[in-house]
């Protein structure tokens, strides 16, 4: 028998019992639809997160810190982290200049992170200020600001502020186009046009150390710590981002030179102050961006050799990938169960078909059909159900995920600028689903096919037609 004959015969035989075939097909369609929707959600989630990380260059950057990072947790790791902290080298300009000379390094700068109070006209909010060099102007997310422009120089009295921070000041800032589109504003916020915010001056109130003498301390805290005001101009507004690059959670960003010149306490802990251990020209952390992901590995090796603590997002990536693998597996298993149920449906359908077509099997054997031919006929029918079911299932799964996407984007991601595709359909998922569906169907058809081929022709011919 040729392949074409088998396909035509399978189609004709299934069409003869079309209602039963359709019901069996629905089972396979739901099974494959559930499987593909579940797995595509897992893949989509992983893709969205890793792409976001990649687009923010998080896989080519690391942050050097005086503190050791403990990613995995557990007492063993904690001890290791503490040991590492004890050997940390000073984070100062000389380390920055050593790193700057490395061919793998593209950008390196100190992250000067200060708690500040910000006053905009009559509104005040507390936040953390961060620092950025001019070199970061072309790096995401700073190359695409919501409104305005990057700093004019490393010592300019200018600031970038986040949309979220403006909300904490009481402003819901929108571009002219968005205001025209009459988008909703959360209650309690004043709608403001972005171009009216750009150019406004804010006052940064930072805490400084007046004196470290024990006498001053005994006289009262106001003699030790004071508040100093610096006037800064808003030049740009940052977009709302889930992962906002190196200055995560820093909502007011200043040029690195300006940040250095801001009055600050100069110590991290009160105990440092008591032991007269102020930071001097040391930084709490240094941001390093490498030219490629491979370069990041080389820099990490160098830092490890120097016993310098650092945090790189890609350290957490392998842990994250493991978590995604578990998630994908759980989702896949749920889909697989539906497909297995459909598989039993196929077995049932094929066994029913054998009972009904027993005489036909006898006739085929009487006119020269071999056991193998009979097996192949039933095997192809099962495979045909699997193939058509897979096509239907993929269509159903794709359709459902599009609808889910539409609902989620409309209902829950109102403020996002971009359409978020929660599901991903790589070619291997689509191709794999077809093959998997056919495989399950063939497995389901295996027993009925063997049973059909082993029917004795005389016994089969005795069945009433």
């Amino acid at each position: 028998m040729t392949l074409t004959d088998l396909i035509i015969m399978a189609r004709q035989n299934l069409w003869r019992t079309r209602l039963r075939t359709l019901l069996t097909l629905i089972g396979v369609i739901i099974g494959i639809g559930a499987l593909i929707a579940m797995v595509s959600f897992g893949i989509g989630l992983e893709k969205n997160i890793t792409e976001k990380f990649k687009s923010n260059d998080l896989f080519t950057s690391l942050t050097i810190s005086t503190k050791a990072f403990n990613f995995k947790g557990g007492p063993g790791n904690r001890n290791k982290a503490e040991k590492k902290e004890a050997t940390a080298v000073p984070l100062n300009d000389s380390l920055i200049s050593v790193l700057q000379k490395k061919p793998e390094v593209a950008i390196v700068y100190p992250r000067i992170n200060l708690p500040v109070k910000v006053v905009l006209t009559k509104d005040t909010a507390a936040t953390n200020s961060g620092s950025l060099p001019m070199a970061m102007a072309q790096q995401p997310p700073y190359n695409e600001l919501y409104a305005g422009s990057y700093f004019s120089g490393d010592s300019a009295r200018e600031a970038l502020v986040s949309l979220n921070f403006l909300r904490s000041l009481g402003y819901e800032v929108r571009t002219k186009e968005k205001i025209a589109a009459n988008t909703e504003v959360d209650s309690g916020l004043r709608l403001a046009r972005a171009d009216t915010i750009i150019g406004k001056e804010i006052i940064l109130l930072s805490t400084s150390l007046k004196s470290t003498s024990p006498l001053a301390m005994m006289a009262g805290i106001e003699n030790v710590i004071g508040e100093e005001a610096t006037t800064i101009k808003i030049v740009g507004i940052l977009k709302d981002e889930q992962f906002s690059g190196p200055s995560l959670r820093e909502e007011v960003l200043l040029p690195v030179g300006t940040a250095k010149s801001l009055p600050s306490l100069g110590f991290d802990r009160i105990s440092d102050l008591l032991e007269n251990k102020t930071r001097g020209n040391q930084y709490a952390s240094i941001y390093v961006k490498t030219k490629s992901m491979e370069d990041l590995g080389k820099i990490k090796t160098y830092l490890d050799a120097q016993k310098i603590n650092y945090f790189a997002v890609d350290d957490g990536l392998s842990e994250m990938k493991k978590a995604f693998l578990i998630l994908d597996s759980i989702l896949g298993i749920i889909g697989l169960i539906s497909l297995l149920v459909a598989g039993f449906g196929i077995v049932n359908t094929m066994l029913m078909s054998i009972l009904e077509r027993k005489r036909e099997i006898g006739i085929m054997k009487a006119v020269g059909g071999k056991n193998r031919d009979i097996r192949m006929i039933f095997f192809f029918e099962a495979g045909f159900i699997g193939f058509v079911g897979a096509i239907g299932g993929i269509t159903l799964g794709y359709g459902l995920t599009r609808i889910a996407n539409l609902i989620v984007n409309k209902q829950y991601i109102k403020n996002a600028d971009e359409y978020v595709d929660l599901f991903s359909f790589p070619w291997w998922l689509v191709g794999g689903s077809v093959l998997f569906s056919i495989l399950i169907s063939l497995l389901a058809g295996l027993y009925p096919a063997i049973r059909a081929s082993s029917i004795h022709p005389i016994e089969a011919l005795r069945q009433e037609g």
Binding site: M9, I363, M364, P457, L461
Partner: protein, 221 residues
């Protein structure tokens, strides 16, 4: 051409043994029209099944053109039927959901003949049995005589040397019986070896060169 040597076939039903073929010796020559006559339950259909390879003998030898086929595997029997034997059944044994043409093409599908060639062959043989106008009709739309002619066409389409006919006129009226017998005689005239099973001695006498009688599984001239 076909030789049966001490062929026995015994069925066991519980504790009872039924002897369907009892020490059968017989020789059928090429081009001969042999009728095997016997009453219901005499073992004639069992004998036909053994000759067709649809069933296997308990003991003895069945030689086809000198080759012993009694130890064939099911697949070898299938190949033997495909190449050498055409079977015509009393109840036609057509697949009702298929057309006359599709039923006739069935053996050619198993023989792996390409579609164009098998259509041509099936059309030719259906024309030969006078059904050129009914080729595209479903088997369940045909009369008894037409259905049996389709069955004959199906038996002939692979050009086998031997035709085995099991009560080919058993379900037909007298006029149609005459038509079917005429077809069988014309096939005999073309050199086919025909073995016909019947309970009707009159029919056997009308068409057969030789009549064998079977009673309680014992075959005699």
């Amino acid at each position: 051409m076909i030789e049966l040597i001490a062929v026995n076939k015994t069925y066991t039903k519980g504790e009872h043994k039924i002897i369907a073929s009892n020490n059968i010796h017989c020789r059928i020559n090429k081009g001969e029209f042999v009728a095997i006559v016997g009453k219901s339950g005499s073992g004639k259909s069992t004998l036909l099944n053994l000759l067709a390879g649809l069933d296997t003998a308990t003991s003895g030898q069945i030689l086809f053109n000198g080759a012993d086929i009694s130890a064939f595997t099911p697949n070898q029997y299938a190949q033997h039927r495909l190449n050498n034997i055409g079977i015509i059944f009393q109840s036609f044994n057509l697949i009702f959901s298929k057309t006359a043409l599709e039923n006739v093409m069935m053996p050619l599908i198993f023989a792996g003949i390409p579609k164009a060639e098998r259509t041509k062959k099936a059309r030719a043989v259906l024309t030969q049995v006078g059904l050129e106008q009914r080729m595209q009709h479903k088997a369940n739309e045909l009369s008894g005589g037409e259905a049996q002619r389709v069955a004959i066409a199906r038996a002939l389409v692979n050009e086998p040397e031997v035709l085995l006919a099991d009560e080919p006129t058993g379900n037909l009226d007298s006029a149609t019986t005459e038509e079917i017998l005429d077809i069988l005689l014309s096939l005999k005239a073309k050199g086919k070896t025909i073995i016909m099973i019947t309970h009707d001695r009159e029919i056997a006498e009308k068409v057969a060169d030789r009549i064998l009688t079977i009673k309680d599984g014992v075959l005699s001239e």
